[in-house]
Structures are given as C-alpha cells and as structure tokens.
C-alpha cells in the first residue's frame, strides 16, 4: 500500500510539471500517516468544476490535518477565493477520508490543493 501511495505521489508530482492542477502534501512527514488514493474532477451541470480527493489514514490514531485550494483560470491567472484559506481536515483512525471542493466560479480551470499539518 505504501509503495502504491509513493508511486501515486511521484506520478502526481511529475504530472504537476506537465499539468497545472495537482495535489501536494506540503510536509513529507504527513505522507507517513495518510495515503492519497484517488483524485477525481468533473464539471457540473452549472459549469463549476468539482474536485474530490480520497485517501486513507493507515494509523490507529485520529489526525487533524488541514488543506487549502488555490484556483487559476485557463490563462494561469489566480482567482481569489475564500477556499484558499486553510480548512481543517479531520481524519479518523483506520478510516477513509475525502476532500470535496467546488470551484469559486466557471472560470476556475486549474487547481492546486495543499495538505499540511496543523500550525505549519
């Protein structure tokens, strides 16, 4: 599972060079506790992009992490949004978790989602 997770993160990191959307675990120590298993995105009927990141807490301890999302338009310009502030991410022990975020408007095309420890 850990190897799968590592490969996935590396793939995301490399794909980050080619694509402008990515998920990044800011502090490498967080990777010891959680696995990011899936990143989904879709454009809803109302034109807003929706992303969902799924993962698992493989430890037997409850963890409180946090995440934030920044959005860019097709030309790579930042779109200011309240979701660029850190949001708590509670993850129960031995449980799956998901982060579901909706784009601030129809122009939001690319996203960067950061997961980090509390207080860093």
């Amino acid at each position: 599972m850990k190897i799968y997770s590592l490969v996935f993160v590396i793939l995301i990191a490399f794909s980050g060079c080619a694509e402008k959307s990515y998920v990044k675990i800011v502090d490498s120590s967080v990777s010891r506790y959680i696995d990011i298993e899936d990143v989904k995105e879709r454009v809803r009927e109302d034109g807003l992009k929706e992303i969902q990141i799924s993962g698992e807490n493989e430890t037997d301890e409850y963890i409180l992490l946090r995440y934030r999302v920044t959005w860019k338009d097709k030309d790579g310009f930042d779109i200011p949004s309240i979701s660029s502030n850190w949001t708590d991410l509670p993850i129960h022990k031995d449980a799956e978790f998901s982060i579901n975020v909706i784009a601030p408007n129809e122009k939001a095309y690319d996203y960067q989602l950061f997961i980090n420890k509390q207080g860093d």
């Binding site: 929706e50 309240i82 502030n85 408007n105």
Partner: protein, 204 residues
C-alpha cells in the same frame, strides 16, 4: 545632593529598561497566522464559517437559476445573539463577495430589513422634480429590480462551565436562504465552532 543624583539616575535607568522590555506591536500575517486561539470570535472563525457556508450553498445547487441567469439576493436580518460586540457583516460580507464572484448571485443594496443598505438608489430618484437636473439623466420609474432570494441567520453563543473549572464556549453560525416567492428555505447551513479554555477567560 549626591543622593538626589543617585535616585534620579536609577529612575532613568529603570524607566529606560522598562521601555525596552515593552512588547512591540506586530502585524498579524492573516495568511499564515500561528497565533494562539482566543475564547472570543476572531477573523479565523468568520473565515471558516463563511467558507463552509459558501461551499455548502454552491454544492446544494440552490443558486442555480434556469438559463444560467443570476438570482437577486437581499440580505435579511442576521442576529448577533452572542455576548460579543460583533458586526454580523464580518460574516455576511465574506459570503456576499464569494457569491457575487461565483456568477450566480447579484446582491441588492436597495432593499434591506431596516431600509435600503445604500439609500442613494432612492435619494437619486428624488431628483425627478428638480429642474436643476437634466431629467434625461434621472432614473426612470420601474428600473429597480426586486429580490428573488433572501439570506438570513443568527450567530449564537453558549457558555458552559466544566467540572474542572474550565470553560467551554460554543458558537453556532446558522444561515437560511429563502426563496421570496414561496417563502421556502432552499438552503440552510450551520457551522459550529467550539473553544475550551480557562474559566477566567472572558468570551465577550
């Protein structure tokens, strides 16, 4: 004479030392604030409550008008039922900005629960009878747009004394989005923020 000199020199030294020890005012980095939590509500709490409300509203689809048009939103009464002197605009303004940027809503400032938020829409129409103004530049009748939706809510506080002498303060941010035509609430949201600290802390 020597005694007076000694005392005054000591006083100057002590005062100098004390002024050097005084805490300097620091500006908060609101993008990376690692400061301790406070028992009262601060901007981090309002940010969290507003972000959760906006995400929930957008996800619900309650603001998706047929044909991709925008709803006209009026801000109704938002009650501060806490022990703190807070302006509920600290919450509502963030929500308004985000909803406006979503392209799904336009907020009217011409209609409000205690009168218009911006009275100029009405005041400017009083120029209709004023010969000093070019009447072609004065707004015609029937131009104002009535609201489709209304946003109302309440911020509630509960203080609970704990057995160990600590204090727990719970804040509830409760919001409703009502369709004015039918009076039905199409969306409702609640964010709870809880804090636990010294019983001596004051949460107002």
């Amino acid at each position: 004479m020597n005694k007076i000199k000694l005392i005054s020199t000591t006083l100057i030294l002590v005062m100098g030392l004390m002024s050097g020890c005084a805490d300097k005012t620091q500006r908060i980095d609101i993008h990376h604030d690692t400061g301790d939590q406070v028992m009262g509500l601060d901007y981090r709490d309002f940010n969290q409550a507003a972000a959760e409300a906006v995400q929930s509203m957008l996800k619900s689809g309650a603001l998706n008008k047929k044909g991709g048009d925008r709803y006209i939103l009026a801000i109704s009464r938002v009650t501060n039922d806490t022990m703190q002197h807070i302006d509920t605009d600290q919450l509502i303004k963030k929500i308004r900005i985000e909803l406006l940027q979503s392209g799904k809503v336009v907020v009217t400032t011409a209609v409000g629960i205690d009168g218009a938020e911006d009275e100029m829409s009405s005041k400017a129409r009083e120029l209709r009878q004023n010969d000093e103004f070019n009447q072609r530049t004065v707004q015609k009748k029937g131009q104002l747009v009535a609201p489709d939706m209304s946003l109302s809510g309440k911020i509630l506080q509960r203080n609970i004394s704990m057995d160990d002498g600590k204090q727990q303060v719970e804040y509830y941010f409760m919001l409703s989005l009502t369709e004015i035509k039918t009076g039905l609430a199409w969306w409702e949201g609640e964010t709870i923020i809880g804090k636990r600290g010294s019983g001596k802390s004051v949460a107002w």
